[in-house]
């Protein structure tokens, strides 16, 4: 008897394509997406893009630039794409602010004269400036570390010891007093706790490096805007596809036949559904961001215009996408399977779950095909980078274009219900 129950379950599952897809295909696709994102990073570390400014233009600074350009973990750019004019500190900062690179490194004027300092000293010469976007916390660590690595390849105490030995040997010999002082310093360095040794990006590091976050300086909760947008967009997609399924319910219940027997055309009906889904999406995003503002101190005031523009464009694209998926499906069960697969996939690739800067560069580029990646980009421009409203033009154009394409596809797909 129990065997019959098990058999019946498997027979039903085998004939229910939607349930089969949800059981086997969705997990595999989802696993593959994450394996592509994170698995690829194991085989080759993703390069960190850094805008490089050489204010010194000395022999030493040029040597450093050449060395950094050879560094395989960095993608060093000295000028913006398609421009010959090299970065200066201001343009490099603007570049980071615009989200085109997570960090910029400025080699200060005077670096060549005082290139390397051993040990703590008040007179440490001009400091390197690392201008960073803290939404990518990994990038500035990588750049700082690789800068030190490039400048020096050994531990500082060893470097000092070697330097003392070299001085002793080739400089005519040290006095006992000098030897005692140097030995004391080496011992001090060796005795420093590990926690202090790691503070190499600030303070008494071997390289005088000042790190400055140039984006979101006043925001104490830096990535709340990103997550509010990421999660908001993902759930807007879920609810848009779910609510778009009302169209299939209309077909199944016969209300579509009834509606089309009135003075309402399919085009009007679709437009009405789209606007309903759009208003629903707007309300969802508003609730999400208000919650983020109230509970997580997201700075909504001052960003209202940008929020309104991005919310309107994002909700439009998500609504049209949901409508298209519903129109492409034959049943609610099929829609459920397709939408789960589609929404989870594009949310993962578009950056709703994992920030795109953590993905390999190839996947980051591929992700730009997805409309939700542009939505998140726009929200980041508003809430994180504090960019002016004209920075939203491209994301909005892309989102509206996708919305139009989705709507036209939905219109085409619904013709089958109109006149047989």
């Amino acid at each position: 008897m129990i065997f019959s129950i098990i058999r019946t379950g498997w027979m039903n599952l085998r004939r229910d394509r939607a349930a089969t897809v949800l059981s086997f295909v969705v997990p595999i696709v989802f696993f593959s997406i994450f394996a592509s994102i994170f698995g690829a990073q194991r085989s080759s570390t993703p390069k960190v893009t850094v805008a490089l400014v050489d204010e010194d233009q000395s022999e030493h600074s040029k040597q450093l630039v050449a060395a950094l350009l050879q560094e395989t973990a960095l993608r060093v750019i000295e000028s913006p794409k398609n421009e010959t004019q090299k970065f200066d500190a201001r343009s490099a900062e603007a570049y980071v602010r615009a989200g085109k690179a997570p960090a910029a490194l400025v080699i200060p004027k005077g670096f060549g004269a005082t290139s390397i300092h051993f040990g703590p000293t008040t007179d440490r010469g001009p400091a390197f400036r690392l201008l960073a976007d803290p939404s990518d916390p990994i990038a500035k660590q990588v750049v700082a570390g690789l800068l030190q690595k490039t400048l020096m390849t050994a531990m500082p105490d060893m470097m000092i010891s070697s330097g003392i030995d070299a001085l002793d040997k080739w400089g005519g010999g040290l006095t006992p007093q000098q030897r005692s002082i140097f030995g004391q310093r080496v011992t001090e360095l060796q005795r420093r706790p590990a926690s202090q040794r790691q503070q190499t990006t600030n303070g008494d590091s071997l390289v005088n490096l000042q790190v400055k976050d140039v984006v979101g300086n006043n925001d104490k909760t830096p990535l709340i805007g990103f997550y509010a947008a990421g999660i908001g967009v993902m759930f807007m997609l879920f609810s848009a596809t779910g609510a778009g399924g009302a169209l299939l319910e209309e077909v199944e219940s016969g209300t579509l036949d009834r509606i089309l027997s009135t003075r309402v055309s399919m085009r009007t009906l679709l437009l009405g559904k789209l606007l309903y889904l759009w208003s629903l999406g707007l309300a969802q995003l508003l609730v999400m961001f208000l919650w983020a503002a109230l509970v997580f101190r997201l700075t909504l005031r001052g960003h209202l215009a940008g929020f309104a523009i991005m919310a309107a464009a994002t909700a439009l694209a998500c609504s049209a996408f949901g409508l298209m998926l519903a129109a492409a499906s034959r049943t609610r069960a099929q829609l459920s399977a397709i939408s789960t697969l589609a929404v989870l996939s594009i949310s993962a690739l578009g950056g709703s779950m994992v920030p795109r800067f953590l993905m390999p560069e190839s996947i980051q580029k591929a992700g730009l095909v997805l409309f939700n990646a542009w939505a998140l980009e726009g929200f980041m421009n508003v809430f994180w980078r504090n960019l002016p409203l004209n920075s939203l033009l491209l994301p909005v154009v892309v989102l509206v274009a996708w919305a139009l394409a989705f709507f036209l596809a939905a219109r085409q797909l619904t013709k089958r219900w109109e006149v047989a």
Binding site: D257, T262, V419
Partner: protein
């Protein structure tokens, strides 16, 4: 009597398969109730959908009050109402809200919409349940509301697709009364049903469709004469519950039949002589073979 609706030589095939409508011609006269009968798959629904403009026909024409009504032309069907077989309502909306929605879809508004909703609720005897969610109404109430939603714009032609499916006798009587009210108001109706007694009771004329063709059309008496002739149906019931049915040409054939029953050792309990029912006509025309 003028024509409310004319269907002329309509042909429709789906995916190159057998013709769903194979040269159908039909006339609905003003103020009449025309029954549309046919086995499952005979072409009834396709014909109704054609009249509603939802089928692109290969050839033929539909005219409504003399005006051509090509498929997809909703303006040409402004005087046509449609009550689908399904309960095509929003279950979470109240009865009144459903009527409001479908009234607006018919471009009604303001006082005209309010008046139409009030009349429709009274007509369907749902005024007292108007503000309850549709999903909480009984099957019969939903059926009546389903009809009410189709008449808000006061159509002059109404297509009713099996409006009494699955309702109890009381609700069915109420639906019959609603239809009589419509007929009294001069509305022309096409009434699709599988219940023969319903067609006999309500319809002025009956069209039988099979294999995409109208195979009989006329009043019930005309259909009987044209198919079975002037013969009558005799039903002899015996005391042990057996039932013998036979067609006879003359009344004097009754006695030998009754004697034959008694000769088999059975006692006659009741004898009925009647004009053959529409069901008899229907089975005569379409056969007893299962269609699905």
């Amino acid at each position: 009597m003028a024509s409310a609706l004319e269907v002329t030589n309509v042909v429709k095939s789906f995916n190159g398969a057998r013709r769903a409508l194979d040269g159908v011609s039909l006339e609905l006269r003003e103020g009449e109730v025309l029954g549309l009968l046919g086995p499952n798959g005979a072409g009834k629904s396709t014909l109704v959908r054609t009249i509603m403009g939802r089928v692109a026909v290969a050839s033929g024409e539909v005219r409504i009050f003399g005006r051509p009504a090509p498929s997809g032309d909703s303006a040409a069907r402004e005087h046509v109402g449609f009550v689908p077989q399904e309960i095509a309502l929003y279950p979470l909306l109240t009865a009144r809200e459903n009527l409001m929605v479908f009234g607006r879809y018919q471009r009604l508004g303001g006082d005209a919409l309010d008046a139409a909703i009030r009349e429709a609720l009274e007509w369907s005897a749902l005024s007292e349940r108007a503000d309850e969610q549709t999903k909480t109404l009984s099957g019969g109430m939903k059926r009546r509301l389903n009809m009410a939603a189709g008449v808000l714009h006061k159509p002059r032609v109404l297509l009713l697709d099996e409006p009494t499916v699955g309702v109890d006798p009381q609700s069915r009587e109420r639906i019959y009364a609603m239809i009589e009210t419509l007929r009294g108001g001069g509305v022309s109706l096409i009434y699709t049903t599988h219940y023969m007694e319903e067609a006999e009771r309500l319809c002025d004329r009956i069209a039988v469709i099979d294999h995409g063709r109208i195979i009989a059309l006329g009043t019930k008496d005309e259909l009987v004469r044209s198919t079975i002739g002037v013969r009558r149906e005799i039903i002899i019931e015996t005391t042990d519950g057996q039932r013998l049915t036979q067609l006879i040409d003359k009344a004097d054939e009754m006695l030998p039949l009754m004697k034959g029953v008694e000769a088999r050792g059975l006692a006659v309990r009741d004898v009925t002589l009647r004009v053959p029912t529409l069901e008899k006509v229907f089975l005569h025309l379409t056969g007893r073979e299962l269609r699905e």
